[in-house]
Amino acid sequence: EPEVTQTPSHQVTQMGQEVILRCVPISNHLYFYWYRQILGQKVEFLVSFYNNEISEKSEIFDDQFSVERPDGSNFTLKIRSTKLEDSAMYFCASLNGRGPEATEAFFGQGTRLTVV
């Protein structure tokens, strides 16, 4: 069964440091997403990415965040200067269609980011 893989599974970083979270979406998928989940809270949409550009982003996704798909397989989320409140589980997701043709979004197992 195809799967979305995320690395690392857990990252601890000092406040103010840059982090890059990596995701390998399913190979024939076209739409990519990042979500985050603060411990005990709901899953929040961060950003969607299609055709090598951001389709939509939430208010959470400010100038400290960026995404890219550098090599056609990896999909990365960068946080430039981490804050304590960035501590959360970050999920990557991909799907191959949208609208009526959409199938389920496949999620990775997440990266737990801890900012100290």
Binding site: Y31, Y33, Y35, Q41, K42, V43, E44, F45, S48, Y50, S55, E56, M89, F91, A93, R98, G99, P100, A102, T103, E104, A105, F106, F107, G108, Q109, G110, R112
Partner: protein
């Protein structure tokens, strides 16, 4: 406005009983999906129901969708201790910036 609000927030039942969770949403959708999350783990897709479908089954899962009421329910029959998890509904509006919006989830605890 927030899509996908589940109720109840928490549900505790005995093994063998059925568990019903509900989800309400605000805007029109293309499909609605249910996911499961074990504590601290990733999201596992359970079932997708499209806006033109009313009911769908997958093993012990039964999902209904009422687009007139903008609501969905997830029924887990003959629950097992291993079903203990948080369950989320997620709606796809599929217009403009496509994204899947999650509700806050229902925490299900199945006692052995």
């Amino acid at each position: 406005s927030q899509q996908g609000e589940e109720d109840p927030q928490a549900l505790s039942i005995q093994e063998g009983e059925n568990a019903t969770m509900n989800c309400s949403y605000k805007t029109s959708i293309n499909n609605l999906q249910w996911y499961r999350q074990n504590s601290g783990r990733g999201l596992v897709h359970l079932i997708l129901i499209r806006s033109n479908e009313r009911e769908k089954h997958s093993g012990r899962l039964r999902v209904t969708l009422d687009t007139s009421k903008k609501s969905s329910s997830l029924l887990i029959t003959a629950s097992r201790a291993a079903d203990t998890a948080s369950y989320f509904c997620a709606t796809d509006r599929g217009t403009g910036g496509f994204k899947t919006i999650f509700g806050a989830g229902t925490r299900l605890f199945v006692k052995a």
